[in-house]
């Protein structure tokens, strides 16, 4: 009622300012930027080859030479953690993006298409979701063998039903809304209605929810690699480092620390960032998922 006229650009700017005023948001941004920086410049920052085996240096504790110590093959853990970040972040971004695209398309089809197709798709979404995540991952690995592709497919399969359902529900609601009916009565075609009237109203909230799923994806990658079902050795991955360390946890605890801390830092960073983003841009979504 008292809404002052303001253009969206300024509103967006104001939102960013508000984000930077939230201590948690700043904390999240810092952690994320730190991890991104480490991952992007991994080659410059690491002194050692991440996969270089050096039997003389095995099981060394943290020192100035090896900031996080070395593992059972004498590989420098700091270098491996930086390169592992690359894997974790690129898997997270790529598979989230893929799930988003597939989820949006399927959701729009289910929401705007005929009833029977909607019901059929819902049944498939529900069935996929009825597999516990890790069980689904395990079943898929038996199919594809351990690989990053398997990780991406697992993530997509896990995310898509949820995303598609959100898009579908919102599309169904919008389909009944007066402004879509109004467009219909003006003679707008289905593609135009989806493009102009539906898409802009459903994608925004989903993007925020998806950004909050990035930590989950990182956890799936690390978890599968920990079980030896993700990346193949010797490729550095946080989960693989954890696995290396876990076998030797009694004598050399620094290896699990080196593998686990970046996971914690990254997931916390993305979560705090995502939460704050959501509160700032779309307070209605609070507490969902």
């Amino acid at each position: 009622m008292y809404a002052a006229a303001s253009d969206p650009k300024r509103a967006r700017l104001a939102a960013v300012q508000r984000l930077l005023r939230e201590p948690l948001g700043v904390f999240g941004v810092t952690l994320v930027v730190l991890m991104l920086f480490g991952a992007i410049f991994a080659d410059w920052l690491s002194i050692y080859e991440p996969n270089k085996i050096s039997p003389r240096d095995r099981f060394q504790g943290p020192s100035w030479d090896h900031l996080l110590g070395t593992d059972q093959l004498g590989r420098d853990l700091f270098s491996r953690v930086l390169h592992g970040g690359r894997i974790a972040l690129s898997v997270a971004l790529f598979s989230t993006l893929a799930s988003l695209v597939i989820g949006i398309v399927l959701g729009l089809i289910a929401g705007y298409g005929p009833r029977w197709l909607d019901n059929l798709m819902l049944l498939f979404f529900d069935s996929i979701k009825s597999f516990p995540t890790v069980m689904l991952a395990l079943a898929l690995v038996t199919l594809f063998g351990p690989s990053l592709t398997a990780v991406v497919i697992v993530v997509v399969l896990v995310n898509v039903p949820g995303y598609a359902r959100i898009i579908r529900t919102q599309t169904l609601a919008l389909k009944e809304s007066e402004f879509v009916t109004a467009a219909l009565s003006m003679g707008a075609s289905t593609p135009r209605i989806l493009r102009v009237h539906v898409m802009p109203n459903v994608v925004g909230p989903l993007l925020i929810l998806a950004s909050m799923d990035i930590p989950v994806v990182i956890a799936i990658e690390a978890g599968m690699s920990f079980l030896g079902l993700g990346v193949r050795p010797p490729t550095p991955s946080w989960g693989a480092i954890l696995n290396d360390g876990f076998t030797a946890i009694r004598d050399t605890p620094w290896i699990v620390l080196a593998g686990g801390l970046p996971i914690i830092i990254t997931t916390l960073g993305f979560t705090f960032l995502g939460e704050t983003l959501r509160d700032v841009f779309d307070p209605r979504l609070k507490g969902r998922g």
Binding site: A5, S177, F179, T181, S185
Partner: protein, 328 residues
């Protein structure tokens, strides 16, 4: 003069209920009327009377189960979406919620010219925006605003501009004053009246507000449970309602004058469910004058003083006030 819109024996059926107990519900139960060029016709009824469904059926947004809709001499109820599209240039519709019927992420400028884009009409959209906004009394500043930045009255004006963008012959307006304050309702009604004169529009107005009808409509129909109970020239219906339901509706809108004696007709009980339509005259469960015949025999619409009334015992002046009855 041939009617621009002709509706004959129109029926709309809905399937409702869970899968096992699916039932057919008659939302609009066989109505006929026509609208002449330049004329304003009003459909009046309370919630659940089927007036909005009827409007949507006329506009081809709601499939019909029987009857016909003829627009400018062409049957439209049998057309496919694609075949219907060119006709939509001549038949515009305005929806109830002033703000909610505007796409929330489009600017007013794009909203008012959307019809040009949909129908691929070559035009200078910038100057069209200017023309349309000034027609409805808004300045060009509004072109850059989003719907949530408009007041109810302003949003309604944008809705009007959208409807008249391609110079339609018929405008269907569903509750044009809904959600607006009294001081703003007049503005919108005046605007519609003005445009009607200037552009020679025919209008079909759907509303529950009888006073609105009184000032804008040439002819009107009163709906109850999906049927017309009374149809006729507005002036005459207002001065001497013949159907008890019309009379009750009229008396249910008290005038803001404490000194006016209110011959109130109070209707007992509530509107029956469309799934359990009463026998005989469907209004008998609430009619203060109901007699035995009303409970058994369905009344036909009969012509009385240039009106059509579906009642066994239509009211004349002397029939009021209603017989006193214990409230049930």
């Amino acid at each position: 003069m041939t009617a621009i819109l002709e509706v004959k024996y129109l029926e709309v059926t809905f399937r409702v209920g869970p899968m096992m107990r699916r039932q057919d519900l008659l939302g609009v139960a066989g109505v006929s009327f026509d609208v002449n060029p330049g004329e304003t016709f009003a459909l009046v009824g309370e919630s659940g009377s089927g007036k909005t469904t009827l409007a949507r059926a006329v506009n081809g947004l709601q499939p019909i189960s029987a009857g016909s809709v003829t627009f400018q001499g062409q049957r439209v109820d049998t057309l496919s979406v694609r075949e219907m599209k060119p006709l939509r240039r001549d038949m515009a519709m305005m929806f109830q919620d002033p703000v909610g019927s505007l796409s929330p992420r489009m600017k007013v400028g794009d909203l008012v010219t959307e019809a040009f884009r949909i129908h691929r009409v070559e035009a200078d959209l910038q100057s069209e925006t200017e023309r349309l906004l000034s027609l409805v009394g808004l300045t060009m500043d509004f072109a850059e605003r989003f719907p949530h930045q408009l007041s109810g009255g302003q949003a309604r004006r944008v809705g009007v501009a959208r409807a008249i963008a391609l110079n339609p012959k018929l405008v269907i307006a569903d509750e044009p004053t809904a959600g607006l304050d009294v001081s703003v309702q007049g503005e919108v009604l005046n605007l519609l009246g003005e445009l009607r004169e200037r552009l020679g529009l025919a209008m079909l107005i759907i509303t529950h507000n009888l006073h609105v009808v009184h000032h804008v409509a040439d002819r009107m129909a009163v709906m109850y449970l999906g049927r017309f109970v009374e149809t006729g020239p507005t002036e005459e219906v207002f001065s001497a309602p013949a159907h008890p339901y019309t009379a009750a509706l009229l008396s249910a809108n008290p005038e803001p004058d404490p000194d006016k004696a209110q011959d109130r007709i109070t209707l007992p009980s509530e509107v029956p469910s469309l799934l359990a339509r009463p026998e005989g005259c469907e209004f008998h469960t609430r009619c203060p004058w109901a007699k035995d015949k009303c409970r058994k025999v369905v009344p036909d619409a009969t012509a009385i003083n240039g009106r059509r009334v579906a009642c066994h015992y239509p009211l004349d002046e002397g029939a009021r006030p209603p017989p006193k009855k214990e409230p049930s």
